[in-house]
Each structure stands twice: as structure tokens, then as C-alpha cells.
């Protein structure tokens, strides 16, 4: 095949969802051996375009050509038969099936109509080993962490020889180590002539991987540029339509009174053991660690979402015996879950109700059991404006917003009432650079206004750039506390591997 013949050619694709035009006359093409990045703000239409490519969404109009052949009405099965594999942003995994069953879903190995289980098992093991992902194939996906699911999702897409590989934020919940494994694979696939569509909000990856970048804004294509000849600043400017300064704001940490003190905290499920840490007013404390090390669970324990086996949690105003979300909110602690889909939002309710959900016990909003709808609407609008939620339609259901905007709606909860301790778990998972910047600014504003922030994140740059102090977790325990000049990538990474750096961490090493 000549290098100038595109594998995939989309012309003038449009897709409308209700009032919003998710895709507006978008052109897109992909050549063999090329990695083509789709870049754009949350809600720009990237996932929608990918769903069009993979046959999951039928475009309202436009042309779809695959290897020069015009195709109308592409279906998911059709796409797969035509060699299109995909890693989806919201994973295409079945929680009630095992890893192995998921990997083979829809293409089971059969003989005379019967499944060939042992063959599939060994194939699955081989594949995961090849990829360097340490995941037991017999475990149910429901029991895996998000990062592990991400790995399974990637493995699933890489399973079969494909001509086109679509990756919608494949590294959103991977650590850099795992991401690097993926990048090596991607390079190999490219050499084999596979065309790759890649969506990411992480600039590092885009710089490292992109052959070409197509920038979308508000459903329209802004430009397609060569990856080599463009700067980060230019990309971001194209994306948001204006020049943007530094992504990470500089934060003046003025640590004051200790607002949250955890000592000897262990979880009932054993995933967190004997954790002690403290967070003071006016500082951001980072909680770093490998996937599944329990950094997210610390926040959940403090907020009373998971059972505690032992330890003490002390807030600024005294000890807390049995934490519960309600008590914690009333004492000025708010937790923001990593998985906004399952824990964070009520999808078929308006964003207004989602934003005010944690403030219903406040006198001014839900005083004495009666809603003050006017006050509520005013306050919510204020907060949504502060967070730049777009479109600013408080009465629209959450389900109709893009990922980044959903995230902001969830964060709005913390601004609706007096909160002094913020527990963030992966606050910027899968959201665009613009929105990320806005969330960082929010963190800065909160901190400088005297809040105590505990930030659990898998994004190392985020931790390094924002934190005043960093705790590193390994297998459920805190192995390092880094302050001042010790907050370096090298120090944190050393902590990632815990006490036995030789033994690279895996799920199976955990009790």
C-alpha cells in the first residue's frame, strides 16, 4: 500500500445531540504507520468522533471511507471485522466476567461451537505477559482497580492484528511506568504499519508520540498540524482559542494550623495499613504512589466511605470517631471521588441538583427541610460560573455534559458550603488541559484562602508541581514524606517501589 493512500478518511462528519452540535463538518484522515492525535477541550467532540470511527455512533451526515472504500452505516462489529480496534474512554469491559473472558469477548475461540477455554487462557496469559501487565486472568473485572481495568482494556484492543488502533485517553489512569510500556508497543505497531488515533490531554505524550495533531474546538476542526513543528503553547492556544500561560500556577503555601491529622489508620479490607499523615491549613499535600497502592482509599476512609479497622482521624476541631460523609461535610471536610461516573454524579438529574447535593443541610439552601430554590439557583450559578462550566445550563442533566464539565460539576459540591479540608482523588482524570489549568487554579485559590488540601494523584507532574509536601505510598503503607527540596521526581519514584525496589509492584503482592 502506498504511503499516501489514507487508511481512513472521514469527510464533513456531523453529529448533533439535542441542542448541541458535537461534531460540525469535521474532516479527519489517518495514514498507515501514523499516530494521529486528537486534541481538544472537554466536550470538543473527540470521543464522539472516535465513536463514529468505531461504528458506535451513527453520524448525521458525512462520508466514511476505509482504505479507499466508502462505507455507510458502520457498526461496531463491522469496524472490528475491518481491523479497527479501540480503547474506549469509558471502558468496554464487563464487570461480571473475568479478565480472560473479557479479552476474548465477541471473538471467543471455538471449536464445533464449543469454547476452547484452556487455549484462551494460555493466550490471554501470554498476551498480558507480553505487554508487561501483571494482572491475574482469572479475576473478575469488577474486582480490578481502574488502572488495572485500563490495562485490560488496552490488552483487549491490542489482541488482534488491526489496521487501525483507536486509543481514547489510554493512559488516563496509568502511571508513567505503565504508560511507557504502552508507548513502546505503540512504536512497534507503527513500524508494522498500523494507523493510530490517539486522544490524550497529557502534553508529554502528545509531544512524544504525535505525527500529526488535529485540534477540535466546539465540535469544529480548528487545524491539523505536524507534531514535530508545533509547540505546546501553540497547541493549547489552538485548543482554547487564546494564548494560555503556564499550566501549573505558582502556589504560595502558608502552612498554618493542622486541620487533618491521621495516625495509624488501617482499613478493614487491609489495603491501607498504619497510615499516618497530616495536612495543614494553607497547603497542598500530595499523596503519590503506584496504581492500587491505597492512596485513594485514604480519602475514602477519612470520609467514612470504607470500613476502618483502626487508627485515629483528628480534625482541626477534635477527634472523629466514626466518620460518615454527612458528619464530615458538617465539619468542613469534603471528598471528591476519582470515578465521577459511579460515585460522583447523579446522571439523570440536572447539574444544579448535583452541585447543591452536599449542601442540602445548610440553612440557606435546605433550611429546616425546605428548599430555598431561589437561593440555591443563585449560589449554584455563582459556583458554576467560577468553575467555567460550559454550557452554563444549570437545568440540563449531567448526562448531557462532557467529561471535564462533569468533573467541574462534581467539584462544585465543595464550593457550595464552607469546606476547610479538601480530599481530592485524581481530580483531573481525563480532562483537558484547559480544564486542568482551571482546576489547578481552583486548588491554588482554595489553598491560598487557607484550606487544607490532600491530593491523591497518579499524575506525577501534578503532585510535584502543586504540593507543599508529598507522602509516597507503597502497598498500603506510607514509605516516605518528602518536603522542600526533596520533592523531586527521583525521590518520589524511589518511594513508588517501596522497601524492596527490586520487586516491581503487582497486585498479587498485596494481601
Amino acid at each position: 500500500m502506498a504511503i499516501d493512500a489514507p487508511l481512513l478518511e472521514l469527510t464533513a462528519i456531523s453529529k448533533r445531540y439535542g441542542p448541541s452540535l458535537a461534531l460540525d463538518q469535521v474532516d479527519f484522515d489517518l495514514f498507515p504507520g501514523e499516530l494521529h492525535v486528537l486534541f481538544g477541550e472537554n466536550g470538543a467532540g473527540k470521543s464522539t468522533l472516535i465513536n463514529v470511527i468505531t461504528g458506535n455512533v451513527a453520524p448525521d451526515n458525512g462520508r466514511y471511507r476505509l482504505a479507499g472504500e466508502e462505507i455507510s452505516g458502520m457498526s461496531p462489529q463491522g469496524a472490528r471485522q475491518n481491523g479497527i480496534a479501540a480503547v474506549f474512554q469509558e471502558f468496554s469491559l464487563i464487570p461480571d466476567l473475568t479478565v480472560e473472558e473479557n479479552l476474548f469477548l465477541g471473538r471467543e475461540r471455538k471449536h464445533l461451537g464449543l469454547l476452547r477455554k484452556s487455549e484462551m487462557r494460555s493466550e490471554a496469559r501470554a498476551l498480558l505477559a507480553d505487554l508487561g501487565f501483571d494482572i491475574p486472568t482469572g479475576r473478575m473485572v469488577a474486582e480490578l482497580s481502574r488502572a488495572q481495568r485500563q490495562m485490560v482494556e488496552i490488552a483487549k484492543a491490542l489482541f488482534e492484528k488491526s489496521r487501525i488502533l483507536v486509543l481514547d485517553e489510554p493512559t488516563a489512569s496509568l502511571t508513567d511506568t505503565d504508560a511507557d510500556t504502552l508507548f513502546k508497543l505503540i512504536a512497534e505497531l507503527k513500524r508494522g504499519g498500523v494507523g493510530i488515533v490517539y486522544v490524550s490531554h497529557r502534553m508529554r505524550e502528545i509531544r512524544q508520540l504525535a505525527d500529526r495533531v488535529t485540534v477540535l474546538r466546539g465540535g469544529k476542526k480548528v487545524a491539523t498540524v505536524e507534531g514535530a513543528g508545533v509547540t505546546e503553547a501553540q497547541l493549547v492556544e489552538m485548543m482554547v482559542g487564546r494564548p494560555v500561560g503556564d499550566l501549573y500556577p505558582s502556589i504560595k503555601h502558608v502552612p498554618g494550623k493542622t486541620l487533618l491529622e491521621i495516625s495509624g489508620l488501617s482499613s478493614a479490607d487491609g489495603r491501607v495499613r498504619d497510615v499516618s499523615l497530616n495536612v495543614r491549613a494553607g497547603e497542598i499535600v500530595g499523596l503519590a504512589g503506584l496504581v492500587g497502592c491505597g492512596k485513594g482509599e485514604v480519602g475514602r476512609l477519612v470520609f467514612g466511605l470504607e470500613a476502618i479497622a483502626g487508627g485515629r482521624i483528628t480534625l482541626g476541631d477534635g477527634a472523629s470517631e466514626t466518620p460518615s460523609p454527612r458528619k464530615m461535610l458538617q465539619r468542613g471536610v469534603c471528598y471528591f471521588p476519582a470515578d465521577r461516573g459511579t460515585d460522583g454524579l447523579a446522571p439523570n438529574r440536572p447539574i444544579k441538583e448535583n452541585a447543591s447535593a452536599a449542601a442540602l443541610d445548610l440553612l440557606e439552601i435546605g433550611g429546616k427541610g425546605w428548599l430555598r430554590k431561589k437561593t440555591e439557583a443563585r449560589r449554584v450559578l455563582q459556583v458554576l460560573e467560577t468553575l467555567h462550566v460550559r454550557p452554563l445550563m444549570p437545568d440540563q442533566n449531567v448526562a448531557q455534559f462532557s467529561g471535564g464539565n462533569r468533573q467541574k460539576v462534581m467539584l462544585a459540591r465543595g464550593l457550595m458550603r464552607d469546606i476547610s479540608v479538601f480530599l481530592f482523588d485524581e481530580p483531573t482524570v481525563g480532562i483537558d488541559v484547559g480544564a486542568k489549568g482551571e482546576i489547578y487554579e481552583l486548588l491554588r485559590d482554595l489553598t491560598e484562602a487557607g484550606a487544607a488540601v490532600l491530593l491523591a494523584s497518579s499524575e506525577l507532574p501534578e503532585i510535584l508541581n502543586l504540593s507543599n509536601r508529598i507522602y509516597v505510598m507503597h502497598e498500603g503503607e506510607i514509605v516516605a514524606e518528602l518536603e522542600g527540596a526533596r520533592r523531586t521526581e527521583a525521590e518520589v519514584l524511589a518511594g513508588f517501589f517501596g522497601k524492596q525496589p527490586a520487586e516491581v509492584v503487582g497486585i498479587e503482592a498485596r494481601p
Binding site: N56, I94, P95, L97
Partner: protein, 333 residues
């Protein structure tokens, strides 16, 4: 040592949680009943129980498949009645039409009745899969349609005129020392077990019930799976209706009234998740057996019939409570 004991305890809990409990309960009910009423273990009584359990198992297999795929089939009851009168009527007509070929007539009638059951199921499936309506509403409304049709045809009057051998050979006959009904039940259950364990279809049913969007993205034809499970449920219900007809010797439009709840109860007691994605045929069969044994032993122990529904209610709640206890449960989910 303690670790050893703990390990055993854990294994035991695991066993109990995964179907062991129901077998244990069955054993207890049998033991207690047999102690109080020795005739409980008479050959005839065992046959009676097995026969009832088989009939319930068959209809529960269909219900289970639909439930695993994330739905409900409330129309199984009326399909039982419809298949009963349809097969009885058809047998009558066909035999009048070809009196020399009674066996063929019966086979044709049975096939047509099962086909109709599957077709009604298919209609359910289309409304669920293609239009996207809630299974609860679809099968509920379908029940009304089918029941209306059934009574329109029969006015509730039983339909006679089927050949005797249909009753004697199928309804009361024995094969390999077991009643034919029980043999059919075993075959249906084994078939379902095989489909669940050995075929990709079975796997896809779990996938669709667990996460339909992801299934679609993975190349599973969600529509095809949904159509198939509802059709299977309709066919299983029809088969139940035919077996009941053979047992009793007439087509009855009052058949099936209790089967909707009983089949769901058997599935639930057998550990089928009500939100889809999990459930095993052999455990559902154990659930059906359990319900049949309980009802039989209550009759034999002369427990007033009005308390029987009460016991059913309590058993249902207790089954789920014990499952929760055994499996343990996260603080929030």
C-alpha cells in the same frame, strides 16, 4: 493452626455462598420432613416432587436467561396457558385432519406451540432490544395481550380431545426409570448448563446483562442476544405449558398463574442477580427443587395452606439475607 481453621471456615463460607447453602437447606427440609412424616420418602412422593421441580426448572431456565441478560419476563405465566390451549386445540384439529398419524399430529402441535411461545418471546425481545423499552413494562403489557387472546379463544373452558397416548406416554410415562417430565426437565437444565459453560452465546448473555454498552463495543450483538433470551424464555414457558397439558389431559387457560413469581423466586433463591450479569443454571435448578420440596413438605406436614404463601415470602427474604451475610458487603456500593 488458627490459620488452618480460618482457611477451612473461609472455604466453607465460600461453598455456602456459591450454592452450597441451598443444597444444605434442601437436605435439612428433607430430613425434618422425613422424620415427621416417613411417607415423605416414599417412591411416589419423590416422583411427585421431582416432577414439580422439573416443570418449575424448565420455566425457570428461560426466566434465568432473561434475568442474566438484565431483564425480567413477566409474560411466562400467560405463555404457559396459551401454549396449553394452543397445543390442545391443534392436536384436536390435526387429529381430525389426519387420524392415522396421531404421533405426527402431536409432534406438530407441540412444535407449533413451542414456536408460538418463542414468537411471543421474540416480540418481547424486539420491544426491549430494538425499541429500548423496560423489560418489566413490555412483558407486563404482553401478558395482558396474550391473556386477552387466550380467554378470547377459550372463554376459560378447558379444551379436550387430545390423544390418550399424549397423556399416558408424555404426561405419566416413564423413560429410563424416570418420569418423562423429569427426563425433559433434566435435558433442558443440562442443555442450559452446557450453553452457559461451553458456548460463546452463554458468555455473551452474561456480558449483555452486565454492561450492554461495553458488550456492543466489544462486538457482541446485543440485539441478537436479547432476542434470543426472550425467545428462549417464551419457548421454555411454552414447553412447561405443554408438559402440564400432558399431565392433566386438557388445555387450560388457567394454567401458569403462579409461575411468574415462582420462576423468579427459583432464580433468586438460586442466586441469580436481579440486576443481571450473573446466575447459574444448576443453582437455579436447586432453587426450583428447594421450592418444590418446601411446598410438598408443607402439604405432607398438613400445614394450613394459608401459611404456605407466608413461608414462601419468608424464604425469599431469608435466602437473600443469608446470601448477603455469607458474601459480606462493602460499606457502600
Amino acid at each position: 493452626m488458627t490459620a488452618f481453621v480460618a482457611g477451612h471456615k473461609q472455604r466453607a463460607m465460600h461453598l455456602l455462598a456459591n450454592g452450597g447453602l441451598i443444597l444444605l437447606l434442601i437436605a435439612i427440609v428433607i430430613a425434618v420432613s422425613a422424620y415427621i412424616q416417613p411417607r415423605f420418602l416414599s417412591q411416589q412422593n419423590i416422583i411427585n416432587v421431582l416432577r414439580n421441580a422439573s416443570i418449575l426448572s424448565i420455566i425457570s431456565m428461560g426466566q434465568m436467561l432473561v434475568m442474566i441478560a438484565g431483564g425480567f419476563d413477566l409474560s411466562v405465566g400467560v405463555i404457559v396457558a396459551f401454549a396449553s390451549i394452543e397445543s390442545a386445540l391443534l392436536m384436536g384439529y390435526l387429529i381430525a385432519w389426519m387420524p392415522e398419524m396421531q404421533v405426527l399430529a402431536v409432534v406438530l402441535a407441540v412444535a407449533l406451540a413451542i414456536g408460538t411461545g418463542a414468537a411471543i418471546g421474540l416480540a418481547n425481545g424486539m420491544l426491549v432490544a430494538l425499541v429500548g423499552l423496560s423489560p418489566f413494562m413490555v412483558t407486563l403489557a404482553m401478558s395482558s395481550v396474550v391473556a386477552g387472546a387466550t380467554f378470547y379463544v377459550t372463554k376459560g373452558i378447558p379444551i379436550y380431545g387430545m390423544p390418550d397416548f399424549f397423556m399416558t406416554a408424555v404426561g405419566r410415562g416413564f423413560l429410563f426409570g424416570l418420569p418423562v417430565v423429569v427426563v425433559v426437565g433434566i435435558v433442558v437444565v443440562l442443555l442450559t448448563v452446557a450453553v452457559q459453560r461451553l458456548s460463546s452465546f452463554g458468555r455473551h448473555v452474561y456480558a449483555v446483562g452486565s454492561n450492554p454498552i461495553a458488550s456492543r463495543q466489544s462486538g457482541v450483538s446485543v440485539t441478537r442476544i436479547l432476542l434470543s433470551v426472550y425467545a428462549a424464555s417464551g419457548a421454555a414457558a411454552a414447553l412447561t405449558g405443554i408438559l402440564l397439558t400432558a399431565r392433566i389431559g386438557s388445555g387450560q387457560s388457567t394454567f401458569g398463574g403462579t409461575y411468574v413469581l415462582e420462576s423468579i423466586a427459583a432464580a433468586v433463591v438460586g442466586g441469580v442477580s436481579l440486576i443481571g450479569g450473573s446466575g447459574r443454571a444448576e443453582r437455579v435448578m436447586a432453587g426450583a427443587l428447594f421450592l418444590s420440596v418446601v411446598s410438598n413438605s408443607m402439604n405432607l406436614l398438613k400445614i394450613d395452606s394459608k401459611y404456605q404463601t407466608l413461608v414462601l415470602g419468608v424464604v425469599l427474604i431469608a435466602a437473600l439475607c443469608s446470601e448477603l451475610l455469607l458474601k459480606g458487603r462493602r460499606k457502600y456500593d
